[in-house]
Amino acid sequence: MENRENIIQVTNLVKKFGNFTANDNLTFNVYKGEIFGFLGANGAGKTTAIKILCGLSSPTSGKAIVAGYDVKKYPNKVKENIGYMSQKFSLYNDMTVKENFRFYGGIYGLSGKEIKEKTDFFLQKLNMENTRDVVLSEIPLGWKQKLAFSVSIIHDPKVVFLDEPTGGVDPITRRQFWEMIYENADKGTTVFVTTHYMDEAEYCDRVSIMSEGKIEALDTPSKLKINYGVKTMNDVFIKIAR
């Protein structure tokens, strides 16, 4: 375990908005191929931290290296090497499935041939080949989320950020989504995921829990439960966030 390659390395990261400290001295690493759960109450500072890790916002002080690049010095290099999807923003509703793949593949600089291959690969895998020319707005939410995940990894990023990817999704699709996460993590993709479903926290290799801008706990789900003397991740979360 000690020799595992770090894909994300955060050291004394601070982000302030005026007098308000949104991220208060965060230090943590995420390994290659790890499923890392990034939890916290609403307003704890998760979104701020994710924006920094994705190169969209610059830290006030401290350092973050993502996929080999310093987020402050090389934000665009970071963006090229990561994938991102969220419940709120993912694909374009007024484009077809194929067009969405084409659009995102193009943004990440894939050739026409590569885009076609990837599109075929993912649609076959999802058993959704017959939806190729369907406009996204007509596709059910659960399928959309699986497509969005596929699109977010079209350029084989080293790390993919999933921001509440399963919100509102039915319980079967939610589980299928996690099988996709496992499969890609096993192939070496690092998965950085936020969720409000505490059973999903159990699916992560390690979980960090933020409260008021700080990381209050970071460990495997089983160790967190032992350390806090409780039986479920829900109880761990409540002990820390309340």
Binding site: G168, E200, A201, N234
Partner: protein, 311 residues
């Protein structure tokens, strides 16, 4: 115990063009209870709530709320029912206090007149009453919306996914508020995609694709689960699901947090767990744990779901 009916829904259907959002919904909600509609996005919860609040008209069927017909008596419905829509719909450019005043005046009342009713909730946001609603955190917006839904002293409130996107602690606090509302005699109709919240309701309706999968007390739904449920854990949980797929006498296999739930189709629990143990031992697993457990609502939902038509 004889209960009076607060909401009566009979054969309600709603179509938008070719899309059937609600397919023949019939159920009753008792006065003074917390009734939960549990289901994923697209199951029809919002369409039903918009019918009950007189905001849209059903394609067919009838429904009454507090004895008033949702189509003919829409004015009475609006006077006696509070509604908290799924999307935050208060005025972002008004302050907390201005929003509440606005809603109070629309219903010809004042904050003072009904302060007692909203006190438990409003005290938590009162320190920020001069702040614009648009600058509130998610949890505070939710409390303001609930205050606004209650300000005209409704007999019944309808809350559309009040806890979606809300963290586990705020969700728990919100349910504590709902229990307080219930003690004041208000009937509470609430929808949620979180299956664990079903246990907090007096009755629940499980919904998928515009249809009711079950309507009952949460305990009764759990007790009707077919088959014996087991939780399995091993040293390798990633791979375990695949290796459980070819188990004999097994009807359902689903990940459930730190374990995988499997359902036995035979009555002999000892025989079944021995079979599972041997199967996993042969596959090279260690630290094998097999425990007979009681189902939760999510197990039941998974069993009842129409697996070919997912939302």
């Amino acid at each position: 115990m004889q209960m009076s009916v607060a909401v009566n829904i009979v054969n309600i259907c709603k179509s938008y063009g070719d899309v059937e959002a609600l397919k023949d919904i019939t159920l009753n909600i008792n006065e003074g209870e917390i009734f939960g509609f549990i289901g994923p996005d697209g199951s029809g919860k919002t369409s039903l709530f918009r019918i009950l609040t007189s905001l849209i008209i059903p394609t067919s069927g009838v429904a009454t709320v507090g004895g008033y017909d949702v189509v003919a008596d829409y004015k009475q419905i609006r006077k006696t029912t509070g509604y908290m829509p799924g999307r935050f719909s208060l005025y972002l450019d008004l302050t907390v206090e201005e929003n509440l005043n606005f809603y109070a005046r629309i219903f010809n009342t004042s904050i003072e007149e009904n302060y007692d009713l909203i006190k438990d909730i409003y005290v938590q946001i009162e320190p920020f009453k001069k702040r614009l609603a648009g600058d509130l955190s998610g949890g505070m917006k939710q409390k303001l919306a609930l205050s606004c839904a209650l300000i005209h002293s409704p007999r019944l409130i309808i809350l559309d996914e009040p806890t979606t996107g809300v963290d586990a602690v705020s969700r728990m606090e919100f349910w504590e508020l709902l229990k307080k509302m219930q003690l004041r005699g208000i009937t509470i109709v609430v929808s949620t995609p979180y299956m664990d919240e079903a246990a907090l309701c007096d009755h629940v309706a499980l919904m998928q694709n515009g249809k009711l999968l079950a309507v009952d007390k949460p305990d009764n739904i759990v007790n009707k689960y077919k088959g014996n449920l087991f939780a399995v854990s091993t040293n390798n949980m990633h791979k375990l699901l695949t290796d459980l797929n070819n188990l004999k006498n097994t009807s359902q296999i689903f990940r459930f947090g730190e374990t995988i739930h499997i359902t036995s189709t035979i009555t002999d629990d000892q025989l079944y767990s021995n079979e599972v143990y041997k199967h996993l031992e042969d596959a090279g697993y260690q630290n094998i744990g097999i425990t007979r457990i009681k189902p939760v609502i999510e197990d039941c939902f998974l069993a009842l779901m129409d697996k070919n038509v997912m939302s």
